[in-house]
């Protein structure tokens, strides 16, 4: 039952996004446009990141930890943050409250991320006869990623959209922002980015 397995993994990967949309007040306020725009911004961000990685990053010959390369990777990951900023602040959204805006943007961002990174391997791999746990794990990763992106968007809206923030929280917020922005380069293997750069 291989198409069955593909179907299962697809539900696991993309289901939570749909459930999140329908369960929360997002569906009542019809924020699908916002999510779609956020997905488009994510696409643009991903392309820009790829180009930068391909241009500036060198293949490490002997696998030693090169601090400059890692710094470069972290800087490029900040493009991610810039993209999120753009999606949150610069795009024109309909009149929706801040709460819902960041959720819609986070959801659109996470959905685009899942589709771009996980749909193709799922389609190609999960339909085969051989059974592996790989695609179930990928689905779980997509779930965690959704949560991560929502929290990133929340952080972003806290930083850039709210004007009146309690004084004490400001440094904490920015520290969390820094950690969250560099986390992708820690959790996701570096090999993935290197593979993408060699593809170019």
């Amino acid at each position: 039952m291989t198409v069955f397995h593909f179907f299962n993994c697809a539900i696991l990967t993309f289901g939570p996004h749909a459930v999140y949309y329908s369960a929360t007040p997002l569906s009542e306020y019809d924020t699908i446009g916002t999510s779609a725009k956020a997905a488009a911004v994510y696409l643009g961000t991903a392309l820009v990141k790829l180009v930068c990685l391909a241009t500036f990053l060198k293949e490490s010959e002997n696998g030693n930890f090169d601090p400059y390369q890692e710094l470069l990777k972290v800087l490029i990951n900040f493009i991610d943050v810039a993209g999120l900023y753009f999606a949150l602040t610069q795009l024109t959204h309909r009149n929706i409250s801040q709460n819902h805006k960041f959720q819609a943007v986070g959801l659109g961002w996470a959905f685009a991320d899942s589709v771009l990174h996980r749909l193709a391997p799922l389609w190609v791999g999960a339909r085969g006869l051989e059974f592996t746990w790989e695609y179930v794990f990928q689905g779980l990763e997509a779930n965690a990623n959704l949560v991560l992106n929502l929290s990133l968007a929340a952080l972003g809206s806290l930083m850039w959209l709210r004007k009146n923030k309690p004084r004490i929280l400001i440094p904490i917020i920015y520290a969390c922002a820094g950690v969250l922005a560099t986390m992708p380069s820690i959790t996701r293997s570096d090999g993935k980015y290197l593979f993408i750069t060699t593809m170019w």
């Binding site: 039952m1 069955f4 397995h5 179907f7 299962n8 539900i11 696991l12 289901g15 939570p16 459930v19 999140y20 329908s22 369960a23 929360t24 007040p25 709460n99 085969g128 006869l129 051989e130 059974f131 592996t132 746990w133 790989e134 179930v136 794990f137 779980l140 990763e141 779930n143 965690a144 949560v147 991560l148 929502l150 929290s151 929340a154 959790t187």
Partner: protein, 564 residues
């Protein structure tokens, strides 16, 4: 106030979310350690499929797509949808024979031959086990060839990967769960086109001619001596039938004798007054059909000039006794002559030659020895062989057990010495004299490296005639070699006697997949459904409140209340 409350609820959601993501990440990292096996691909060789006069034999199917099982006795197993994997040394032949003869259903059979070391299936008989394995293979082959099996049968060599799969399958069987679609396990898949009949199976006869010295006053045709060996094989797995002893040994002996006599005949001073005709015939297992067609192609003069013919069949693993098989009574003058000349040389070498007489029954189409085809055309011929009894149809034709290690090169050497010396004595008229023409360390010594090299080559080339095209590399090699040693080479292409038909698809790749059962997928679906419903309720609860959740389920009753 409302903003702060919303902020607190939002903050609560975020804390929970981050904990959740950390937990999920840890879970993923821990579970990543154990991943499923990747698919394995193994080379497999199909059992031969052929008809004799329309009666089907062998395995009639090629495609395979079933679950793997390890024994015939698994409780509750549906054997018609299982492929049984069995190592040959653990096979119970009587049970298998009963199973096949009583036409019991089976999805497929995968027989595992002992590990291939180099090019050998069975090593030199060093232990009782090796001899036992050879006997098992012979018996198994005879069983499978003569049965009509309606499911695919494949042979594969044991190696680490397939042994691991077999161990796993055995473990699954032992837990009492038979392999079926609902319990997972291994799935064996061979995708191969359906076997088609080979349209015109060709046999190629190669003959080389060494003319003798015609004196000035000779107007008659010089007498001819023929040395013949059939080079093709037949076995249970045509892609593995290399037939080192039957009849690779005969072919190598013929080539070496041709080489020695071509050296003698190259100098007119040492050229004998006999023509020599070397024949490599095909179609041996099929009642020596090729030999018959070859002989029929001779013109009358040549046929009448043949004084006698020596056919070589399986001379590679004898110790002290060799047999001459004749169809004319041993008292016949010609036969006596041949026997005596061979016996003389045999005595010098310290071996014995026995003589066996088998009358030809013209009405019986079975031709057990090559010399019988000569005898039917009234040419004196004998077959020299280590076999003492006439083989049945498709018996002793090279097969799974007949590989390089079943040969004794010294036996081939002795045979060559025997035949060459006796031929030379006859040609040069040295009967009764103690002269060794092909002595060791002379320029005409028999070359053991030549023997070894050709035996190696033949042991790597499966030679089942219907699967040998006209331009097959082994045929080209034999042609070239014989043309090097003879003056005139002639090749004849014929089709095999219509009584035999063969089907292709002899080798394939087996893919082994580890599959999950349908039950697992259903379980996963249920789990996912529960998870999504939980997530939905959780999100509705936290973002819209408990009232909304309850309202989702209470709408119909409230409308009824309103109507009333």
């Amino acid at each position: 106030m409302a903003g702060r409350r919303r902020g607190r609820i939002g903050g609560g959601v975020e804390v929970l979310d981050s904990i959740y993501s950390v937990v999920a990440l840890v879970f993923i990292l821990v579970a990543c350690v154990e991943l499923g096996d990747a698919a394995t691909a193994v080379d497999v060789y199909r059992l031969i499929q052929y008809d004799i006069a329309g009666v089907p034999y062998g395995s009639r199917l090629a495609g395979l797509n079933h679950h793997a099982g390890a024994s015939f006795f698994a409780p509750g197993a549906d054997l018609s949808r299982t492929v049984v994997m069995m190592p040959v040394r653990e096979l119970n032949l009587t049970f298998l024979r009963e199973y096949i003869i009583s036409n019991q259903p089976l999805g497929g059979l995968l027989l595992l031959l002992p590990e291939k070391v180099g090019n050998r299936i069975v090593g030199k008989i060093k232990s009782k086990d090796d001899g036992l394995m050879r006997n098992i293979l012979v018996e198994l082959e005879q069983l499978l060839i003569h049965a009509n099996i309606p499911y695919p049968v494949y042979f594969a060599f044991e190696d680490d990967k397939i042994n691991a799969v077999l161990a796993d399958v055995r473990r699954n069987d032992a837990t009492g769960q038979p392999p079926m679609a609902t319990t997972g396990g291994y799935k064996l898949l061979v995708s191969i086109p359906e076997p088609k009949r080979v349209s015109s199976p060709t046999i190629t006869n190669i003959q080389g001619w060494l003319p003798g010295l015609k004196g000035d006053g000779d107007t008659n045709q010089l007498p001819t001596i023929a040395v013949v060996a059939s080079y093709d094989t037949f076995g249970a797995a045509p892609a593995l039938s290399v037939g080192s002893d039957s009849n690779g040994s005969g072919v190598v002996a013929l080539l070496e004798i041709a080489r020695l006599f071509s050296r003698l005949y190259s100098n007119p001073k040492t050229r004998g007054r006999y023509n020599l005709l070397f024949g490599l015939t095909s179609g041996g297992p099929y009642n020596y059909d090729g030999t018959l067609k070859w002989l029929r192609s001779f013109d009358q003069r040549l046929r009448e000039s043949i004084e006698y013919a020596i056919c070589l069949n399986s001379i590679g693993s004898w110790k002290n006794e060799l047999w001459i098989h004749v169809s004319k009574p041993p008292e016949n003058a010609y036969i006596k002559q041949v026997h005596e000349s061979l016996s003389d040389v045999a005595n010098e070498l310290g071996v014995t030659i026995g003589i066996k007489h088998k009358k030809i029954n013209i009405s019986n189409p079975r031709v057990a020895w090559e010399h019988e085809q000569f005898s039917r055309l009234r040419i004196t011929a004998v077959t020299l062989s280590e076999l003492s009894a006439a083989p049945e149809l498709l018996e002793s034709t090279g097969g799974l057990h007949d590989t390089r290690d079943s040969l004794d090169e010294a036996a081939v050497y002795r045979t060559i010495r025997l035949v060459a010396e006796s031929l030379a004595k006859h040609i040069y008229g040295h009967q009764g004299r103690n002269i060794q023409i092909f002595a060791d360390n002379s320029s005409l010594a028999i070359n053991p490296f030549y023997i070894s090299a050709w035996l190696d080559l033949l042991s790597r080339a499966p030679r089942v005639a219907p699967f040998l095209s006209k331009t097959d590399p082994i045929i080209s090699s034999l042609k070239k070699e014989l043309s090097d040693h003879t003056v005139e080479l002639h090749v004849q292409h014929e089709t095999i006697d219509g009584m035999f038909s063969f089907y292709d698809s002899t080798r394939a790749t087996l893919n082994v997949y580890q599959v999950a059962s349908v039950a697992f997928d259903l379980l996963l679906l249920l789990a996912l459904g529960a998870y999504l419903i939980l997530l939905f309720s959780f999100l509705v609860l936290t973002t819209r409140g408990l009232d909304d959740l309850i309202n989702l389920f209470r709408r119909p009753p409230s409308r009824k209340v309103k109507a009333a």
